[in-house]
């Protein structure tokens, strides 16, 4: 108790010197607390998004493999014929779904249908490459169809479909198409053609010319103006079986596998290759999308981690230097104590106590201030990294389709992390404490070396 009391007094006796030490420890602790809080909160946020997006997987074509295969064939180095990609049939998709990594699976199929009386809402200039979506199509049965073209998208689970996931499109009237022949059209298309829930419309399949009567079960609205600009308000949604009524060739199938966890994505991919998945395909679990969303947060984490390392090393070195200067100034005091019989370890122990007192005060202060400033600092860094990401080419924003690794059109998201909820927890406190204790230990080790080199008689003679 006396030692601690004396060390407290020593801190006050050497208040000017220890103020410098305290400021340095405050800076190190402040940056540690900010970096640790932001990193900890960022990890939770990233984990959330991984769980949100990363646990669904689709099977897409791999452009790298396609390009390599094409080059081989083009260069004549391959003995094989022209590049051929075996489409994945429905049974194979079902076989892939039979996996311990898969929690559930939903299938989606799309075909192009037409109706010559139905007007396409083409208010948007961006769709002028296909004015009115009107075109002449030669059907497989030789029948020529003249009409407006619509995408008929069938899914057995719209909750996992990128068209409806996270409110990309929102049902505003009626019901989702559950029965065969039910369809969901956009409010724009409905008002444009004076259609309402319950009306029946006939559509022709563009490939085989089959005509099927479809009943409007509900209306949806596009969540963003960008979606409308892409002409997505002309999409018609139905159930999976309804699309099958138009065409028997189910080649445009997408299976969305909900995995047990995002972490099993690579294991699932390997399993599919083991089951015979062509190397032209890969398992897409929205990594691009995830990177797009979490990129700024990860960049912020990286920046703060690097800053923490730099501050720790630089601050530690400065702290050692300042402590050596303090020890030199207190050499006489050390000499007297040693001459009176105080052991080196007792002198060192006193210095440790002094450092612990200063460190504790500075760390507590830094923890409070750091906790307060963590939120604005992280918001500011994330905002700045969001701007950097937007300015980086190849990174898409908006809700339009984007070319990704699979070469397929994939729905992206407007979702951007602008803030993370920063909060201090026990782990942050523990790591901050550990960082400071390491600094105390290092400085003490150096101090101990300094004290050991000094012989009391020599110090007193110098005086």
């Amino acid at each position: 108790m006396y030692d601690l009391k004396n060390s407290s007094k020593n801190v006050i006796r050497n208040i000017k010197r220890y103020t410098i030490v305290g400021i340095l420890i405050f800076i190190i602790s402040f940056i540690s607390v900010i970096a640790l809080i932001v990193n900890q909160s960022s990890e939770s946020t990233i984990e959330y998004y991984l769980e949100k997006y990363g646990n669904t997987a689709t099977i897409d074509l791999d452009p790298e493999q396609m390009s390599m295969n094409f080059s081989k064939n083009d260069g004549g180095q391959s003995t094989g014929g022209p590049m051929s990609i075996t489409p994945i049939d429905f049974e194979t998709y079902q076989d892939f779904a039979d996996s311990s990594y898969v929690e559930s699976v939903s299938y989606q199929q799309m075909t192009m249908v037409s109706n010559e009386d139905l007007k396409v809402n083409d208010d948007n200039e961006q769709t002028t490459n296909q004015p009115d979506n009107k075109m002449m199509v030669q059907g497989s049965n030789g029948m020529q169809m003249d009409g407006n073209m619509f995408s008929l998208i069938g899914s057995d689970d719209f909750s996992t479909s990128s068209y409806f996931k996270d409110n990309a499109n929102i049902l505003v009237e009626g019901d989702m198409p559950s029965a065969d022949g039910d369809v969901l059209i956009s409010t724009d298309l409905a008002s444009y053609n004076d259609l309402a829930v319950g009306d029946t419309v006939a559509f022709n399949d563009m490939l085989e010319g089959n005509e099927v009567q479809l009943t409007i079960s509900g209306l949806y609205t596009a969540a963003t103006s960008e979606q409308m600009m892409m002409g997505m308000q002309n999409n018609i949604f139905t159930n999976y079986n309804t699309v099958s009524q138009f065409t028997e060739e189910m080649t445009n199938i997408t299976a969305t596998y909900t995995l047990t966890s995002y972490a099993v994505a690579s294991d699932f991919e390997q399993e599919l290759y083991d089951k015979g998945l062509d190397e032209m395909y890969y398992v897409n679990n929205n990594i691009t999308l995830l990177n797009q969303i979490t990129g700024p947060v990860e960049t912020t984490m990286g920046m703060l981690s690097n800053l923490l390392i730099i501050v720790f090393i630089t601050g530690g070195a400065i702290l050692i230097f300042i402590n050596l200067l303090i020890l030199r100034e207190r050499k006489y005091e050390i000499g007297v104590l040693r001459a009176l019989g105080m052991k080196t370890r007792q002198v060192t122990k006193g210095l440790i106590y002094e450092m612990i007192i200063v460190t504790t005060v500075a760390m507590l202060l830094a923890t409070v201030v750091g906790t307060v400033f963590a939120q604005p600092i992280s918001d500011s860094l994330i905002a700045s990294n969001n701007v950097s990401q937007e300015m980086t080419p190849m990174k898409s924003s908006g809700n339009g389709p984007t070319m990704i690794r699979g070469g397929m059109m994939e729905q992206t998201t407007e979702e951007t992390i602008t803030t993370i909820e920063t909060k201090i927890d026990f782990k942050v406190l523990l790591i901050t404490l550990a960082i400071n204790m390491i600094l105390v230990l290092i400085t003490t080790f150096v101090a101990s070396g300094f004290i050991n080199r000094q012989h009391p008689n020599e110090i007193l003679r110098e005086q």
């Binding site: 006796r13 005091e333 001459a339 009176l340 052991k343 008689n457 007193l460």
Partner: protein
């Protein structure tokens, strides 16, 4: 009875010229000793060795019939031998009281403010001075604090290096009386290195050092 004794003690700083040559002396409890000699004669070297501030090169030093190399040298300085320096060597940013309490702590004694104040009064200082910083005191007062600090360690041997070297005559006599009192009434063996004739005259035994050779002259 001899409490501290030296046998065949020699010491050379450069390994060749002996500052001390084959010294054989002993010190008893309850007695005051003066060691006199010219500057550079080896007086300070002798008390540095006796107090454990320097390591001996050859010969033996016994405390209570035990060779001091058997002691932990820090503990030897802490609780067996008390040193009073010419320049006091107080901790200047410690208060008078804290200087004494620290000595108690180092010696492994109970750290008692009451006892420290008693010691201050014992050396002729008032209680109010306990919170003063040493540099605010006169030389004589600082030396009294240094003596109180030595007493706080409760050592049997007190070694003083020119304790009155920086003091006026009146103060010198006060300090001398105090040191003699420690020997006479508290049973300490008090060894004083001095240039002062007053101290030499009042000491019960006087050793003279000339070129490293010690002779008993009283």
């Amino acid at each position: 009875m001899s409490i501290l004794s030296v046998k065949n003690l020699s010491y050379a700083y450069d390994g060749e010229n002996n500052v001390l040559k084959d010294v054989n002396i002993s010190f008893d409890a309850q007695k005051t000793y003066a060691i006199v000699g010219k500057s550079g004669s080896g007086k300070t070297t002798l008390i540095s060795l006796l107090s454990g501030l320097d390591k001996k090169q050859s010969g033996e030093i016994y405390l209570n019939d035990q060779e001091i190399s058997n002691y932990d040298i820090d503990e030897y300085r802490a609780s067996e031998v008390g040193i009073i320096f010419q320049r006091y060597n107080l901790l200047n940013n410690f208060t008078v009281l804290d200087n004494i309490l620290m000595a108690m702590r180092i010696a492994g004694q109970e750290v008692s403010t009451t006892k420290a104040i008693e010691l201050l009064e014992r050396v002729g200082l008032e209680e109010q001075m306990k919170d003063s910083l040493p540099l605010n005191l006169s030389g004589g007062q600082q030396q009294r604090v240094a003596i109180a600090r030595t007493l706080a360690k409760n050592c049997k041997v007190i070694i003083a290096d020119e304790p009155t070297g920086n003091l006026d005559e009146e103060t010198e006599l006060d300090i001398l009386r105090l040191l003699k009192d420690l020997a006479d009434n508290e049973g300490k063996s008090v060894i004083i290195v001095t240039h002062s004739n007053v101290i030499a005259k009042s000491a019960e035994h006087v050793f003279s050092i000339t070129n490293g050779v010690v002779n008993s002259i009283k």
